[in-house]
């Protein structure tokens, strides 16, 4: 079989992928409705009972020789992975996308969600032997508050005070009500370390695995610490995480069995990978990176909403998804909220590619035959340049001259993004719609990369945080999304799929609504058949 064969027929191949969530849901429905034969049900149960032992060899992209063990500096997949091997958070996101207690056994809001009380699990010990208590948790949370370099600083900025109630209970007071606060503690920066732990040349945690070897840029080895407190988890004897930044090398290593799991398979070649008998490809649909072009709403000509609408009608989203992402992406609707997210506004129609409307709005803006410039770089996201060129072609049909300027990926986030009037950006998935919208669209957000500032929108978002009535909350978020879609400066054209590859003997790799590689916790969740 040749490579070109598979590339020409991406869709026939994509049909082969089993979305396990659907498959399992289907099986459960069958089991309830008709009753499965006893033998096969038993077999299925046996197959799902985790076995202990073995070394999991991960081959990953998303890290470098500059990686640190300090959770405040984590920004990419590899640190997130070893962080969750070694440590736990207060909360984790479960298979359904809900906040579930991790080191917090339970949590409940104070009336009006103006504060939260977290009850910590008892009898949990760090690898160093210390027993977990409220002081450890408070210290760990405070690493990301006040004068800090932490990437999670903004997430915790709504907290006014953290108080110890008992050795196993803390109370968090908020500046404004927030009904979804627990999700914040599922963030990968916010790992729980012992009180006073400050020497991050090593890392002490309560995770299933203790750090053995840390060679950033080469490999990270962890060993099972034994007696992990989560039932059925922490099954591998050890985990060897290797840095394999080259997608072709990673794929090859997976197919030939030199590693057991690989992240970020290349959509261009994944159809070929799926044909390898040794490999299982797990696709998580529409929860990956949100790919977008962003225009600054306070810079001409993008101050005009007609120009912004022309930008949105003038892009052929389906063509980009099919051509650049080979079908392994979902088309976007100009917000960072994909259909898989809770409170996604289903009633807002998907904006189509409509050159006539684009031309109409562009004319209405009255800026004549102005030339627009879009700055892109592969440093923004892989496929940005190709997408931009397709965009340019699509805009041509609307009679709009869009110039694509390719810039260096080096220093892109520093020099281009947030500074240039129209440029490429990706946004990662966040556990809640509040996080997702707040970080990008609030007037006060540091990363408001469209300079779209609407006090009405801010009001809705702040109010929704404190709204405990589900229905009202959904309505508020629908309204907020509509405002962005109709008025915002973001042309979000696609949401990527996560594509993980596993060796056939790796089990427990169901897709997760949060991140790829089972929420980057495959080391903790998986086992060998």
């Amino acid at each position: 079989m040749s490579m070109t064969d598979t590339l020409e027929k991406p869709h026939s191949a994509s049909g082969l992928i089993v979305d396990r969530r659907q498959l399992m849901a289907g099986a459960a429905a069958l089991g309830l409705g008709f009753g499965l034969p006893a033998a096969s049900a038993a077999a299925a149960a046996a197959a799902e009972t985790p076995k202990k032992g073995g070394t999991l060899r991960l081959g990953m992209e998303g890290g470098s020789a500059s990686d640190s063990l300090d959770p405040r500096t984590y920004a990419d997949s590899i640190p997130i992975s070893y962080g969750w091997q070694i440590c736990n958070g207060l909360v984790e996101v479960d298979e359904k996308g809900d906040a579930a207690g991790e080191l917090a056994e339970s949590f409940e809001p104070k009336p009006g969600a103006t504060g939260w009380v977290f009850n910590l699990r008892k009898g949990i010990t760090f690898h160093s032997g210390k027993t977990l208590d409220a002081d450890d948790v408070i210290y760990s949370l405070n690493l990301h508050r006040g004068e800090t370099k932490s990437g999670a600083k903004d997430l915790l900025s709504g907290i006014s005070e953290i108080k110890k109630l008992t050795p196993n209970q803390i109370e968090i007071s908020l500046k404004n009500p927030d009904a979804s606060l627990p999700y914040v503690f599922a963030d990968y920066h916010i790992l729980i370390v012992p009180n006073g732990f400050s020497n991050f040349s090593t890392l002490d945690g309560t995770g299933a695995f203790a750090l053995e070897t840390f060679e950033p840029g080469v490999r990270v080895i962890t060993k099972n610490h034994g007696n992990y407190w989560k039932p059925g988890r922490g099954n591998f004897d050890s985990v060897e995480l290797r840095y394999i930044p080259d997608a072709a090398a990673r794929t090859q290593a997976l197919i030939s069995g030199q590693i057991d799991a690989a992240n970020r398979l290349d959509p261009k070649t994944v159809a070929f990978v799926m044909k390898a008998p040794t490999v299982n490809v797990v696709r998580t649909k529409g929860t990956g990176n949100r790919f977008a072009f962003v225009a600054l709403c306070d810079t001409n000509p993008y101050t005009s909403n007609d120009v912004r609408l022309a930008l949105k009608y003038g892009i052929d989203r389906q063509k980009i998804v099919d051509t650049v992402y080979k079908g392994f992406a979902t088309i976007g609707n100009d917000t960072t909220v994909p259909p898989s997210m809770k409170y996604f506004a289903k009633d807002i129609p998907q904006r189509p590619y409509d050159p006539d409307k684009a031309a109409f709005h562009f004319k209405k803006a009255g800026i004549g035959a102005a030339k627009l410039e879009l700055q892109v770089s592969e440093g923004a996201f892989s496929g940005a340049t190709d997408s931009a060129v397709l965009y340019q072609e699509a805009m041509k049909k609307a009679g709009i001259d869009l110039e694509v300027k390719r810039v260096s990926g080096d220093g892109y986030w520093d020099n281009v993004w947030l500074k240039q009037p129209f440029c490429a950006v990706y946004w990662g998935g966040r556990p809640t719609i509040d996080n997702q919208l707040s970080q990008t669209f609030l007037s006060t957000a540091n990363w408001n990369d469209t300079h779209w500032r609407r006090p009405d929108f801010d009001k809705i978002i702040i109010a929704a945080r404190g709204e405990l009535d589900e229905k009202k909350r959904a309505e508020m978020y629908a309204e907020a999304q509509k405002m962005i879609v109709d008025d915002g400066g973001m042309v979000c054209f696609a949401v990527g799929d996560y594509l993980d590859g596993y060796g056939k003997k790796v089990k427990g790799t169901a897709p997760h609504p949060h991140y790829d590689m089972c929420d980057q916790r495959v080391a903790e969740k998986g086992w060998f058949a």
Partner: protein
């Protein structure tokens, strides 16, 4: 001879100093700094300020340079700005890996290149000369990473003889190291072969056109004997220079091959450091690379003297005359 070595060593130190200044200036010209690069898309002005103060980046550039230089003169290369790891401890094993791979590749490529080069010179214009030339030229014309992929396709995917991941580690036996590093070494061999082969061939051929070689032929000696006994000793100097240059390339120019085979060498370490603007790490890698060039060039000059009786028996041999 001793004087030569001493002069070259002194010049070498000056070169290294110049290199360090140059690298430092370049890293200052590059947009962004380590704090912005590490925090990337999640950087906030507050976080950046804290990070910069923590690393002393709020001090003027020249003060940071001299602080660094002072440390280096005391044998302290400092710690990486990004993750506070000791640079020497990080760099040394990687440098050993790089030397190992370069040595492995050289052990394969130098004998083949020099052997084929001499053979080509002896059989100038004949079919074996042409075949060797064409094949090596093809190998050098294909990008390195592609040569790597082709070798992976043949030796890993099809034949399953060698692994495509060449991650060597300290807990590996010597045999294992050679085994896993075979494909990258072969890739590098193919990359440097053409250059060395053609330079060897040309060096021998240019000697072949001199009067004393003609004399040797007139004495009735065979072509093989003329080349091996009369031409080769005099061609050795230029050949050694070329080999030294290629060896230096094997040490400093292999980041692409490291990437394809996931080989933990200095190249990737330096590239990561540049991406993150980790100046002390860039400096350390740059100095190591510059030192490799200085040492190999000095060695080449010394060897040229050893091979050349005229230079060997002169009191003063300066660098300039050798190349003339």
């Amino acid at each position: 001879m001793l004087r030569l070595v001493a002069t070259r060593a002194a010049l070498g130190v000056l070169t290294l100093l110049a290199v360090s200044v140059l690298i430092f200036i370049c890293t200052q010209i590059l947009p962004g700094d380590v704090a912005a690069a590490v925090l990337g898309q999640q950087a906030t002005p507050d976080a950046l300020k804290v990070f910069r103060a923590e690393l002393g980046l709020d001090k003027p550039a020249y003060i940071r340079y001299f602080t660094w230089l002072f440390g280096v003169l005391h044998g302290d290369f400092g710690r990486a700005l990004t993750n506070q790891r000791d640079i020497i401890e990080e760099l040394l094993p990687r440098f050993m890996n790089t030397l190992f791979l370069a040595g492995y590749a050289a052990a394969i490529s130098v004998p083949i290149a020099v052997g084929l080069g001499i053979m080509s010179a002896i059989r100038e214009g004949r079919i074996s000369d042409r075949v060797a030339n064409v094949l090596t030229l093809i190998a050098i014309s294909v990008p390195e990473f592609f040569v790597g992929y082709i070798l992976i396709f043949i030796f890993t995917s099809q034949l399953d003889w060698f692994p495509s991941l060449a991650t060597v580690s300290s807990d590996m036996s010597v045999g294992d190291r050679f085994y896993v590093a075979t494909l990258p070494a072969l890739t590098l061999t193919l990359v440097v072969l053409a250059h060395m082969l053609r330079m060897t061939r040309n060096a021998v051929l240019s000697i072949m056109s001199t009067a004393y070689i003609e004399m040797a032929f007139l004495k009735g000696l065979s072509r093989t004997r003329v080349v091996s006994r009369h031409a080769l000793p005099n061609a050795a100097g230029p050949i050694v220079s070329v080999v030294a240059l290629d060896l230096a390339y094997l040490v400093v120019g292999v980041v692409v091959v490291e990437n394809v085979f996931v080989y933990p060498g200095v190249g990737q370490y330096m590239v990561d450091a540049v991406a993150k603007r980790d100046v002390p790490v860039i400096q350390a890698c740059g100095l190591v690379f510059a030192a490799v060039f200085v040492v190999l060039n000095t060695l080449a000059d010394i060897l040229a003297i050893v091979f050349n009786p005229r230079l060997r028996h002169r009191r003063v041999a300066s660098h300039g005359h050798l190349r003339a």
